[in-house]
Symmetry: C3
Subunit: 210 residues, 3 copies
Amino acid sequence: MPVAEAAVILTPVLDWLDLFGVALFALSGALIAARERQTFVTMSFFALVTGVGGGTVRDILIDAPVFWVKHPWYAALCITMAAIVWNTPTRWWQGRLFDYADGIGLAAYSVLGAAKAMSYGLPPVPAAIMGIITGIVGGIIRDVIAGRPSILMKPELYVTAAALSASMCSFGMWLLPDRWGIDWALWAVAALAGLALRSAAIRYNLGLPA
Amino acid sequence: MPVAEAAVILTPVLDWLDLFGVALFALSGALIAARERQTFVTMSFFALVTGVGGGTVRDILIDAPVFWVKHPWYAALCITMAAIVWNTPTRWWQGRLFDYADGIGLAAYSVLGAAKAMSYGLPPVPAAIMGIITGIVGGIIRDVIAGRPSILMKPELYVTAAALSASMCSFGMWLLPDRWGIDWALWAVAALAGLALRSAAIRYNLGLPA
Amino acid sequence: MPVAEAAVILTPVLDWLDLFGVALFALSGALIAARERQTFVTMSFFALVTGVGGGTVRDILIDAPVFWVKHPWYAALCITMAAIVWNTPTRWWQGRLFDYADGIGLAAYSVLGAAKAMSYGLPPVPAAIMGIITGIVGGIIRDVIAGRPSILMKPELYVTAAALSASMCSFGMWLLPDRWGIDWALWAVAALAGLALRSAAIRYNLGLPA
């Protein structure tokens, strides 16, 4: 897919998916800080790092302009999510509901990252890796700075769900490069597959063999 | 402010502020390594990472050439700071005096980072974040690699002081875009405000509520 | 050395050295994950991060296209190394033999990184630092994500061996800029010097004074 067409066709959807993913991940970053009884400034920093971290690393690697740097609303959205967490009881945000919301963000972000990488002309394997990076790196940076064991080191099907969505998206777009109508269906299927796997892992405590 | 004018007007001052901030942060990195009884090579690496880390992340994010890569004296300055720490007793560098020096570097670097980001055409909120990143990210990388709890996780008014200086600078430059004579005063006021807050925090052990 | 000539002369060798270094470091990343009884997905992620991490940071800093992003075989190679580790007993890979193999990768990668940086027009001190970064940063990221103490914090002659190879390469290329026949010999001597130092450190448990 040439970049120019991609810019026209993909940009509005990608932008909304970006905002949605950023908001969900910013929420999870602010919550980590809230659970460790941090101040509002630290909470905002964690919201920002977790919200935009994965997409930032992807954009730097594929040599795209970093998506939030020239647009004021991404950073403002992250600080807003921190303010919401700051002004509500932490227990509102605990439990399974939050895990499922995080799973939606993970699946949406992995597809988004892979699709953006494909639109920059990457081969499918690196493009799938860009999707995984978009989905999980924000959380890894959050955990490393907070000194927590990373989700990477747990056997839960978390990275695997991101890998499923990202691979389906990138290999699908590679096999079906010119059917624009199918792209939409492909993205939806890829995101739903990853979400289904992640939901099953949450529901039944599934893990990979080590 | 157009980039071309900014390059002519800002560059000499920014360069000197850069060298000053780099030297102070390199010193703090070398000291961390010295306290953990590390070798000279490790000390140099910590001096470099802490000295140029924040500005490096800023330059990558705003898509500027990384400031120290094509100029030989930044890296040499960091290694020189490591050599100074290596050849002097650690106790020379302990205590409040060092905390105040670090506060000066923090305030100067936050203003510098925000001003550079504004000169690259960023909106004020991302520009303020670039200022904060310039001020604190070198120290965060230092702490993460050394396995120490990061300054971010403490309630001290450290990130907040950086946020104050960076926000005053970026919003000031946004409100007063064309009064060149005022820019200088603005930078000085923004740096002094952050330094005053940081000094009060050191003097009276102030912290934010968690 | 102008970039155009460098591209013609250096590229084939650099590419092979890249693949060799990537494979060795990917192996060491997969082994860390295997020793902590991780899943295959985590193992692949560690193989990738360790295999391409140092060269990725180098390419971002010198503003080169990140070497593995548009070429499918680097990422595939890392995943293959993870698959090899996954299907063999961990004890095959323990002991001194692996330490020496890692030393070969370290020396080769440090020379490669410094040579690439020189070919992008960097001064010799930053170019030597790029060589060190290429050699050690993949391992640092691996250790930080795994929550292990980094090799940087140990007195072993590891970073020092990388620094020796990288400095000999960058200062040698700076002093002898136009003798193409000598470049090859220089790279070999620089790599062998670092390897000899690292081997002596492994053999006799040498360390720097702290």
